[in-house]
């Protein structure tokens, strides 16, 4: 294994610390030093995020620390994005996620968490907020053509609204072209299957893993 460039080692450390301005500055410095965007991404940002993920799973890092790391990651990726696209690297094309808590439901902190984690994983996230009517999901999907649609619900009275929303997306001919992920405290994998969602995740961390798996399986 070749020695990692000192700037990238420092970049990974800044990312771990959730220092967004530091990450941004180091991305710029690394590019200035002639490193390829892809290398900065892989050996700097993603390498840092891997340690974050490992320590989080081990219970050493807390969620707010993951969130600031995810934000810093997002800042770094935005800086690299134009160059990555130039390099025509497939994975670099921004993947979009449209998120929202369904109509009639005000619970949104869990969904916000999911959004931040997705941003940290490189998604461009459009958060429609809470109490989002099916028409608004349809409109957003029509305009944004996202790879991922995330629906959240926490109430027994609004879980059926997930079904309605998916049905509306199907009716508009938009469901087949995207991947629909659902979640929220009372939501289960069985419910996701029953209402025609493509996947379910029990928490914000697994939401990112699940989204990645589902998109990889579709080749998206």
């Amino acid at each position: 294994m070749s020695e990692t460039h000192a700037t990238l080692v420092e970049l990974a450390q800044k990312l771990y610390a959730g220092d967004a301005p530091g990450v941004l500055a180091l991305c710029k410095r690394a590019l200035g030093e002639g490193l390829a965007a892809r290398e900065v991404l892989d050996a700097g940002l993603l390498a840092g995020m891997e340690v974050v993920g490992r320590d989080f799973k081990a219970g050493e890092l807390f969620l707010p620390e993951i969130i600031v790391a995810a934000r810093a990651m997002h800042a770094g990726i935005e800086e690299l994005r134009p160059l990555l696209a130039e390099a025509a690297s497939g994975a670099a094309a921004p993947r979009t996620a449209v998120l929202g808590t369904v109509k009639g439901d005000l619970h949104d902190i869990g969904k916000k968490l999911v959004g931040i984690m997705l941003e940290g994983a490189g998604f461009r996230v459009l958060d429609l907020g809470h109490d989002v009517a099916p028409e608004r999901f349809v409109e957003a999907v029509r305009v944004e053509r996202p790879q991922l649609v995330g629906l959240s619900a926490l109430l027994s009275t609004t879980m059926p609204m997930m079904r309605t929303t998916i049905a509306e997306l199907e009716r508009a001919g938009l469901a087949a072209g995207t991947t629909i992920l659902v979640g929220g405290a009372p939501v289960t994998a069985a419910w996701a299957k029953e209402i025609g969602a493509h996947g379910f995740a029990p928490d914000a961390v697994s939401a990112v893993e699940r989204a990645r798996e589902l998109l990889a399986a579709r080749g998206a």
Binding site: G104, S156, A204
Partner: protein, 479 residues
């Protein structure tokens, strides 16, 4: 028929700490304010009454808050369908209620959670009605098999018909549902004036933390208040998520949110009976989700009750509702300490009994265990009773050294007031082994089965009429 606990007030917060929390709440109200998604006319009316508006953000001058809160009654009655079931919120008593509103119930046979139905709610209410420790009802599980828009009404119908205890409509959060709920309660009470005179129903509305109320929730509160139905305001902050991660910051935010609701109510309906509700907790920092249990929660409960009393209104404090997934050691520890905190803070209303998994799953076994725990705390709160008779000096003298107290008249006089458990195990070791080493939850399950096997009571005289009203109201609402 209702067993309340004596409030054993022993402030855990210092006077300075309380004053600082109260001042912080007022400062948040005055400087940051709240976002209220009310219709412009309502916002204008509130500004005419002294609030300051900038778009949909309303700021609350401190003097106005203090003045408005002073209009709220400190104590009043929450009535049952018969006077013997009335609750006195004057500050001397602590009452346990059912908790709510879980979306799942632990199946009695399989022990696995499954979505709840009206039949589950009915079973829970039948049991709760017979438990003297349960003083008021909530829809402890949602009527998940009813069409979504009608669930709150079906839940209230169950509360009103399956128990004569005071009902608190915790899932009625929109004005159209509130109007239907008032009509239903009036039918049961014998008319709107009878309902006003003896409110057999109360309600509350939640803030959307941080620092917002939905317009529909506030309008629902006003519908209730205008009908004379007590309406509280409730904050369910999550420290680290929807509130600061520190207990003090969280409690100050709760204080601001609840006082905002009470202020609005008192400005528009002066003197309306209200209460201060909170079930503030912490975010689980490793995976997200809510803790519902932990030392921070104990302080949040204490601060909530003390701040409510400082504002001269009764306190409803989320009590029990452990984060544990099963009725074992964790639920026992968390709920016992949670009950102790509410008892020492003198919280009048404790919702309540029966929830597990951070208020998501209801368990009939846990309902019985929580009722027993409350009874334990109630007996503790009675105090040791240090008086001539109970000091037992005569008996001690009569027995003397190396004697025994077994057959003493003093023992016989007082032994029946020694608290007796129904579910805690005090059997001899061999009996316990022979019974298959049952846990408290196993004994509770047997007891649930026994209670549910008893014939169901006859429906009350108003049942058919109430059901017809629910059907009529349900038709009016979108499915």
């Amino acid at each position: 028929m209702i067993r309340a606990a004596r409030s054993r007030h022993a402030s855990l917060l210092s006077a300075d700490e309380l004053a600082a929390l109260h001042a912080a709440g007022l400062r948040i109200l005055e400087r940051v304010g709240l976002e209220l998604s009310l219709a412009p006319a309502r916002l204008d009316a509130l500004c005419d009454l002294g609030l300051r508006r900038e778009g949909s953000r309303l700021r609350f001058p401190s003097a106005l808050v203090e003045e408005a809160c002073a209009r709220a009654p400190r104590g009043y009655r929450l009535c049952g369908q018969e006077p013997a079931l009335d609750l006195d919120l004057g500050g001397e008593r602590c009452y346990l209620g059912l908790d709510g509103s879980a979306t799942e119930i632990l199946d009695l046979d399989s022990g696995a959670p499954r979505p709840s139905t009206r039949a589950d709610l009915a079973a829970a209410l039948r049991i709760a009605d017979g438990l003297p420790q349960i003083a008021l009802t909530w829809p402890c599980v949602s009527a998940g098999d009813a069409p979504p828009a009608q669930q709150p009404l079906h839940e209230l119908e169950a509360l009103l018909t399956l128990s004569r205890k005071h009902a608190q409509a915790m899932t009625v959060v929109a004005p159209e549902h509130a109007r239907a709920a008032v009509a239903m309660a009036a039918l049961v009470a014998g008319g709107r004036e009878a309902l006003r005179a003896r409110p057999i129903l109360s309600s509350f509305q939640c803030s959307t933390s941080p620092l917002a109320y939905e317009g529909s929730a506030l309008e629902a509160a006003l519908v209730f208040a205008e009908a004379g139905v007590p309406c509280g305001f409730w904050s369910m902050t999550i420290g680290g998520g929807t509130a600061p991660v520190t207990v003090a910051g969280n409690a100050a935010l709760v204080h601001a949110e609840v006082l905002a609701g009470i202020t609005i109510l008192q400005l528009l309906c002066p003197g309306a009976p209200t209460f201060y509700g909170t079930s503030a907790t912490m975010m689980e920092l490793r995976r997200g989700g809510v803790c519902c249990g932990g030392p921070e929660d104990l302080w949040l409960a204490s601060a909530g009750a003390e701040l409510a009393h400082r504002a001269h209104v009764p306190a409803a404090i989320g009590t029990f509702a452990s984060g544990a997934k099963a009725s074992g050691w964790q639920a026992g520890v968390e709920n016992a300490l949670s009950g102790a905190a509410s008892l020492l803070a003198g919280a009048e209303l404790w919702p309540g009994a029966g929830l597990l998994a951070s208020a998501r799953i209801f368990s009939l076994e846990q309902l019985l265990l929580d009722a027993e725990l409350f009874d334990y705390l109630r007996a503790f709160a009675e105090g040791p009773g240090v008086d001539e008779e109970r000091l037992a000096l005569e008996a001690i003298e009569a027995v003397g050294p190396r004697g025994h107290f077994l057959g003493e008249a003093h023992t016989l006089r007082h032994m029946r007031s020694v608290w007796q458990p129904r579910l805690l195990d005090r059997t001899p070791w061999d009996d316990w082994l022979a019974a298959g080493r049952p846990e408290a939850a196993d004994r509770a399950r047997d007891e649930v089965r026994r209670l549910l096997a008893a014939p169901a009571p006859d429906p009350p005289r108003f049942a058919a009429e109430l059901h017809a009203l629910v059907e009529e109201e349900a038709r009016r609402l979108q499915p």
